[in-house]
Symmetry: C2
Subunit: 252 residues, 2 copies
């Protein structure tokens, strides 16, 4: 059986132009032509095309595919191994990027500006071990972080907006409470601290009391978080820190 370009293209899910291209560069020459100059592909050509598409999808450049297919001495397993490594590396890089994006999205919702250093985190420009270690230290490499990463990716724009709105709503009530002069370790403050914990659990990850107090400490230790709360109301970072601690002690 002989096939025309169009038939082959449909069968192999490539464009006619692609077949022309493969012909041009000698990667896949049709086994014959009709009197009118039409390309005629036979079964063997189809087999070869399958192999070509296969290696293509594995990321091999066309020239290398030609080498593999035309050199019977070439070791296909070696090629596969090499490609396996390449792919693994690429997956790793992409995963780092995804993590960086999630981090960026998370920061955006709080309106926190990333430091240049953080912005460049995605680049492999420092020792990977050191980098991993730092990430471990900063985020604990914890289940919590993984949860939040996972969720971050799934949230729609509406989700983000609702999240932000709920956050702001809570912020307003907390600021109002401060205004009223209520003590940071009083029942109302503790109730709002608890609400804060629940908000995190709802949107991000299971926030235990332990984690919550850890967060509270970060709010006064990390200037970016401090700035965020201070912008809502001066003194809020410290006040919230105290309320969270009080709440954690009382409830657990």
């Amino acid at each position: 059986m002989a096939y025309t370009v169009g038939q082959v293209a449909r069968a192999a899910r490539v464009t006619v132009r692609t077949l022309h291209h493969y012909d041009e560069i000698g990667l896949l020459r049709p086994s014959g032509r009709t009197a009118a100059g039409y390309r005629r592909y036979d079964e063997a050509d189809l087999d070869r095309l399958q192999l070509i598409r296969y290696y293509r999808e594995l990321g091999f450049p066309l020239e290398e595919i030609a080498e593999i297919l035309d050199d019977p001495d070439a070791d296909p397993v070696a090629h596969l191994r090499r490609q396996h490594e390449l792919l693994s590396g690429r997956i790793g890089k992409l995963q780092e990027m995804v993590a960086a994006i999630e981090h960026a999205m998370e920061a955006r919702t709080l309106g926190i500006q990333l430091t240049p250093e953080e912005r460049f985190e995605v680049f492999g420009d420092f020792d990977p071990d050191e980098h991993a270690e730092e990430a471990e230290q900063r985020w604990g490499g914890t289940e919590a972080y993984r949860q939040s990463q996972e969720r971050a990716g799934r949230y729609s724009k509406e989700d983000w907006l609702r999240n932000k709105a709920e956050n702001e709503e809570w912020g307003r009530r907390f600021a109002a409470l401060m205004e009223s002069g209520a003590p940071a370790d009083g029942p109302e403050a503790m109730a709002l601290a608890e609400e804060h914990r629940q908000l995190i659990t709802k949107w991000w990850y299971d926030c235990s009391y332990e984690i919550h107090t850890g967060l509270a400490d970060m709010y006064v230790a990390d200037p970016r978080f401090t700035a965020y709360f201070e912008a809502l109301r001066p003194g809020m970072a410290a006040y919230l820190n105290e309320a969270i601690h009080a709440n954690a002690i009382t409830r657990s």
Copy 2:
């Protein structure tokens, strides 16, 4: 402070040519030039370059980066979300490719030819659900398969060769046993069946007796495996099948 192209290039880890390119397309024009025509970059330019590199690493095309940076109304989070999806998709595809490669490597060591269908498995050309389901059925989605996949990727060429050699050695001894006329459910056949199980455990995954009998059945059911054993010695597939079953019943 003002910097020359070279200085900027070194600092930002890009090539001079890249900066020229960014200038050409208007993505990053240096804030000034010296009398001699030298590009002069200032701090603001560096900031912009950082952002450019950041979005670049996240996979944005240059044109889109220009949009994001030049349009203050553009929603960066929306862009991030979109990019997150793109990256996740790409990771998924790459992971499928890796699985396909591992499958191919595994098949190679046994000298089994993949069917065209399998060769095209890596393409997303049929319903993903159906595909996943089929893979589930074929491989059980089991811990065993995951183990073997994981190991396949780590093996060096020498490992593969040793694996192959051990396999062949076992094959020779098993063929010799058949030759001797020993019964398939006799002690020697069972011993070699057990050795076979251990070989799999050593190289691939924890091969329980249950899994082993499953494999044995596949050896007579799947023509490609059958062909492999039949090539070693006619009747070997069925003989091995029986020996494995006998061994499993006796030992467990």
